[in-house]
């Protein structure tokens, strides 16, 4: 099993279970014992996941990937100590970000629901092409990626959250916007596109949307 086997789902699950930080260790980049260089896939996943975390209001420093060899115990200890320190600094998950437990669970669950879609987006549009750490990092901090992210992930994430909310009970635009921290016009934009796809319907009597 390669570090590239670490699934986005695994990371999300750890946060869902209340872990304050997730660390992924991989072999040194470009020193793959095989020919797969799957550690770059792990790096790609981590960079994407950090973007998602930012979007849902989680501190992306809670997730870290580092590359080292089996012979570098000291380096491992050093890295884990520094990460442990960092996570303590950042503080308890959700609480430090000003998110109550329910909201936090709710947002993570919304992302979790999107995983199949996120995987498609990652493999089609959000993958750095040159095999170097620098290239990966600069790709993920480029404006192009921000644009693709907004376009392909941002909207979906908002809709996923709205649907998750409506699954609990029917709600009005105002109530949704309040709970998700969006403007009412944003909410109605998403609601409109969702209702066109038949995902959401409007109940005239209660003036609420439901699934």
């Amino acid at each position: 099993m390669c570090s590239g086997r670490v699934d986005l789902r695994f990371v999300l699950r750890a946060f869902l279970k209340g872990m304050d930080g997730v660390f992924i260790g991989g072999c040194h980049l470009n020193e793959c014992n095989y020919i797969t260089h799957g550690n770059f896939d792990a790096l790609n996943m981590v960079l994407l996941c950090k973007k998602i975390m930012e979007r849902i209001g989680l501190n992306p420093e809670r997730l870290r990937i580092e590359f080292m060899s089996g012979g570098e115990g000291h380096l491992f200890a050093e890295v884990v100590n520094s990460f442990g320190k960092k996570v303590k600094e950042v503080g308890p998950l959700g609480q430090s970000e000003g998110l109550d437990k329910k909201t936090l669970q709710f947002r993570l669950e919304a992302v979790n629901q999107l995983v199949p879609y996120l995987k498609l987006v990652e493999s089609q549009r959000m993958k750095a092409s040159t095999k170097s750490e620098e290239a990966y990092r600069s790709f993920f901090s480029s404006e192009e990626v921000d644009r693709i992210f907004d376009e392909l992930v941002g909207d979906k994430l908002a809709i996923s959250q709205i649907l998750l909310l409506l699954r609990e009970q029917p709600q009005s635009t105002g109530a949704i916007s309040k709970q998700l921290g969006m403007t009412p016009s944003e909410v109605s934009k998403y609601i409109k596109s969702s209702s066109r796809q038949g995902l959401v319907r409007y109940d005239m009597d209660s003036k609420c949307y439901s699934i």
């Binding site: 099993m1 390669c2 590239g4 086997r5 670490v6 699934d7 986005l8 789902r9 695994f10 699950r13 750890a14 279970k17 209340g18 872990m19 014992n33 095989y34 020919i35 797969t36 260089h37 799957g38 896939d41 996943m45 089996g70 012979g71 570098e72 115990g73 000291h74 380096l75 200890a77 995983v115 199949p116 879609y117 995987k119 498609l120 493999s123």
Partner: protein
């Protein structure tokens, strides 16, 4: 080794085994003895920079991982202390051990004594031994290493501070004719220095690195780009100059170096640390070795070898591998090791498997219908785990975990009696899954899997909870927390164990036949070596005749007469009853996989299908056809190869010429081909020496960028210079220019002009002939062949080996091997090394009846597959393809090719493809179980409250 008697096929060797004072079968490498030993000694593995104890494991990754006791031990010296024996829980210390003698019978002998690094202390080169902050590259190597004296921190000796300015001095002890130095080039130092520079910059990007060098010899595969990488880093300077040490600052202890520059004369500059790139010496005990084995040495005290087979000593049955052949780097050492190993086997082949015994395991119990019944075994690892983690407490805790029906502690789970205990308990308690709370699976997982098989349980029903490396070793000062963490780790393991599935490893039959593609020196040598060990070989050659590029070569620097050698090889191939040759052949199709290939070959108009278990690609390389320097326009412009042919043919015009100019690096080391063709410098020197031999009056100029006569070829370079061959350096920005003209004495000549940096003017050379070092370029067929065999090409478009050091003659596609210039340009002896190496690797496959494929491979649940192809794109091994099913196109994994990296698993949007043994289900349950106990309790309470609320409501 005391004595060797007998002859090839039947040697008797007397060995003397020095006492280790450790019972090897008892020591587990736990390191407790080292901790308690009172004697501190300089650590030899860390170049005596840091300390170790009189009893210790030589280094962290030693194999076997067993301690030894140094002569400095108080007991051995004065019979005073036996602390180690008292603390060892496994009774592994034996201070009374004595030297043992043993005679062994062997069919062949392989000498791999390696080399010594040059010791600059003897002559006090560059102040080494006198000036504190002058180190050797070996010292520095340890400083860079995470397991080194300062745990990977680069600290200079005088003040233990990080040096900001580091200088490397190249060729220390190498390329010198003075007393005490070596005249040859050590071959490895240029590139290892570049590696050290890259690592230094990795440690601290601010460090200024300066390398004082002669030629930069980046002659190996991918070396040129590696050099460029180091050279292009900010703060790195490569300065071509001889140097001397100026002074050591009495206060800062920094060292100044004097060097020459072209424009500013001699400069003196201060550095915080100076690293001497020391060369390679022959092994220390080489004379003893010579006597014991009765072998000949060359003038440099390395093994004397025959370049027709560089792995052979003068004594039949005794072979040599690695740097004892001459200075070489790791990939070449590994290649010669495989090659020499293969030749040893030629003497032993008739006895293959005679000593092997088959293991018989009890029949596997079908537990698929049973509930998971997990047994947890917690290892004390002597005191390693036990004195930090509360093992009895952990055992009690384990018993409380769901599905755990048995838990117990063991002193050493890896000891034989403990393994028996696991087997017995499994039977007694009806266990169907085992969790071992012990060490890293890296070393002992195979052992414990075997234990499960002995108990009649599928070996994949094992999970190892690493409470040593991940816990007791790192938290030795926090025993309570460590115990809590051990509980977490075991709980996670138990959670995963529940989801483990029994997996079967597939045994595939191996077709014992080999296919060798390419009938040059490499292909023929390889075919002969395989056929000599009793296997059928099909040799496929695209031309009408065997011999390849070697048919155009006549002599080598080592004095080999190439044509008779090629003729001899061709005859041996034709006479060999087990080799079938196809001429004028094209490969049309390749199907199958390791052990079972079927290749369609068209030869002389007929098509046949060859079934074979392994394939060796030896399709050679080509000579670049220059477009520069009037080649093809003026018939006096030739390539080195053509000059060699004319010398051999006795071409009077050429041999009587007054002057000849050679231009090096034509068609490579440029933007189109960013690599060094490796052989041309040696080739130029060889032609020059031959011409000088025939016509000492001939003026010969060699225009070069870096002379890369690595290894013992350096002697020939020096000889040529002594014989008045003129070597003039040029830089790629100002290449020589060539035009037809007339010399002062009225001859029609080619005029070669280039800048002379020493005299600062333009030099004009009159040449009757111009000889170009036309590059060796990848074979024309490389892409097609690569596609057919599903193997890859490097950026330089030569074939790419699976791993440069670990698997240098294999492709990542299992069962396909590689040798000769198809891999990279190389000299004939190097091709022969590699040809035997490829044969050796192929034989490790072909000598088995079956090849075992891991059970942890990927599998597709067809109903979930949406045929998006994400998995196919993710698989580097081409193990996944679409298959037509009644439900449409679905992904399908060829489990024989799958290597189980699981990258596809992560890419699949629907979770249709799964890596067995590391399933989402298993790993997610492990993550769930990682939540702390309080969290779980909290959840349980919350759930209980809800129930109460509901109850109240009703």
């Amino acid at each position: 080794m005391d004595e060797v008697k007998g002859e090839a096929g039947n040697f008797r060797v007397r060995l003397r085994k020095k006492p280790r004072y450790i019972r090897e079968d008892k020591c587990t490498g736990c390191g407790i003895c080292t901790e308690y030993c009172p004697v501190e000694i300089p650590d030899p593995f860390n170049q005596d920079i840091s300390t170790n104890k009189a009893v210790h494991v030589y280094f962290a990754q030693a194999i076997p991982l067993i301690a030894y006791i140094d002569d400095s031990c108080l007991y051995l010296k004065e019979k005073k202390c036996h602390m180690c024996a008292a603390v060892c829980k496994n009774d592994a210390i034996d201070l009374l051990q004595t030297e043992e003698e043993e005679e062994i019978k062997v069919g062949s002998i392989l000498l791999s004594p390696g080399y010594e690094t040059f010791d600059p202390e003897v002559r006090g080169d560059y102040g080494y031994g006198r000036i504190q902050n002058v180190l050797t590259s070996m010292d520095y190597e340890r400083l860079l290493c995470a397991t080194g004296p300062y745990e990977g921190e680069v600290l200079r000796p005088s003040d233990k501070k990080h040096p900001k300015r580091i200088a490397w001095i190249q060729c220390v002890g190498s390329r010198q004719v003075q007393e005490g130095g070596n005249s040859y080039c050590s071959s490895v130092c240029c590139t290892y220095t570049q590696k050290q520079v890259l690592l230094t910059k990795d440690h601290n990007a601010e460090t200024e690195c300066t390398i004082f060098h002669n030629d930069v010899r980046s002659y190996g595969k991918d070396f040129e780009t590696y050099f460029q990488k180091a050279d292009s880093l900010p703060g790195v300077r490569f300065i071509r100059s001889y140097v001397s040490i100026g002074r050591e600052d009495p206060e800062t202890r920094s060292v100044s170096i004097k060097y020459a520059t072209t424009d500013e004369g001699v400069k003196e500059e201060e550095f915080d640390l100076v690293v001497l790139s020391v060369g390679l010496d022959s092994p220390k005990n080489v004379k003893e070795l010579q006597k014991t084995y009765n072998i000949e040495l060359n003038e440099h005290d390395f093994c004397k070898i025959d370049s027709r087979n560089p792995m052979r000593t003068n004594r039949p049955g005794i072979f040599v591998s690695g740097a004892f052949q001459g200075p070489m780097d790791i990939p070449e050492s590994v290649i010669t090791a495989s090659g020499a190993g293969s030749q040893c086997a030629e003497y032993l082949d008739h006895r293959r498997w005679k000593l092997a015994r088959e293991r018989v395991y009890p029949e596997e119990r079908d537990v698929s219908k049973e509930e998971p019944r997990i047994g947890v075994f917690v290892c004390h690892c002597g005191a390693n785990i036990g004195r930090v983690v509360d093992v009895p407490g952990l055992v009690e805790y384990s018993k409380s975990l769901p599905n755990v029906v048995h838990a117990q502690e063991q002193l050493f789970s890896c000891a034989t009696n403990s393994a028996d205990e696991i087997t017995e308990m499994a039977k007694e308690k009806g266990l169907n899954r085992v969790v071992l709370g012990a060490c890293s699976p890296r070393t002992l997982e195979p052992l414990f899997r075997d234990t499960l098989r002995e108990a009649g349980i599928n070996q994949y029903y094992l999970d190892m909870a690493n409470i040593r490396e991940h816990d007791s070793w790192v938290h030795s000062k926090e025993p309570e927390e460590a115990t809590e963490k051990a509980k977490d780790i075991v709980r996670m393991s138990v959670a995963r164990a529940k989801h483990l599935k029994p997996l079967q490893e597939i045994d595939l039959p191996v077709n014992k036949t080999a296919l060798v593609v390419g009938g040059g020196i490499g292909g023929m040598t390889c075919a002969l070596s395989i056929a000599d060990q009793g296997h059928e070989v099909y040799l496929v050659e695209k031309e009408a005749d065997l011999g390849g590029m070697a048919r155009r070569l006549h002599t080598t620097l080592e004095g080999l007469d190439v044509q008779p050698m090629v003729k001899d090889l061709v005859q041996q191939v034709y006479k060999h009853p087990s080799i079938q040759v196809s001429h004028a052949a094209t490969i049309e199709d390749v199907s199958g996989y390791v052990g079972n290939f079927a290749t369609t070959v068209n030869s002389e108009g007929r098509t046949k299908k060859i079934k074979h278990g392994a394939a060796i690609l030896a399709i050679g390389a080509q000579e670049y056809r220059p477009e520069e320097y009037l080649y093809g326009q003026d018939e006096r412009v030739l390539t080195h190869l053509e000059v060699g042919e004319r010398i051999a043919a006795g071409d009077e015009d050429l041999l009587k010429a007054q002057s000849l100019v050679m231009i090096q690096c034509v068609g490579c080391r440029n933007e189109d081909r960013n690599y060094c063709a490796r052989v041309c410098c040696g080739h130029a020197v060889k032609n020059a020496l031959q011409l000088k031999e025939i016509n000492p009056e001939m003026e010969i100029y060699i225009l070069y960028r870096d002379m890369r006569t690595y290894g013992f070829r350096e002697d020939a370079y020096r000889e040529a210079a002594d014989k008045d061959v003129k070597f003039i350096r040029y830089v790629p920005q100002e290449r020589p220019e060539v035009e037809a003209g007339t010399s002062e004495d009225g001859r029609d000549v080619l005029q070669v002009t280039l800048p002379d940096y020493v005299l600062g003017q333009r030099l004009v050379l009159d040449a009757d002939y111009l000889s170009l070092a036309a590059a060796v370029i990848p074979p024309a067929e490389n892409k097609r062949i690569a596609q057919l065999f599903k193997v890859s090409l490097g950026l330089d478009e030569f074939f790419k080996e699976a791993h440069v050091k670990l698997r240098p003659v294999e492709f990542s596609a299992q069962g396909v091997y590689l040798c000769g210039t198809a891999h990279y340009p190389k000299h004939i002896p190097e091709t022969i090394n590699q040809a035997h190496g490829a044969a050796g690797r192929a034989l490790t496959l072909l000598s088995h009846d079956t090849v075992t494929v891991s059970g942890s491979v990927c599998e597709v649940a067809e109903q979930d597959c949406v045929s998006c192809g994400a998995c196919i794109a993710a698989c580097t091994y081409d193990a996944i393809e679409f298959k037509e099913t009644p439900q449409g196109k679905k992904a399908w994994v060829n489990q024989v090719i799958c290597k189980g990296d699981g990258l596809c698993n992560v890419k699949c949007p629907t979770g249709a493809i799964a890596l067995k043994h590391f399933t989402d289900e298993g790993l997610l349950s492990q993550i769930d179980a990682a939540a702390t106990e309080e969290d779980i309790l909290e959840e349980i309470e919350a759930a209980a409250e809800e129930v109460e609320v509901e109850e109240e409501a009703t």
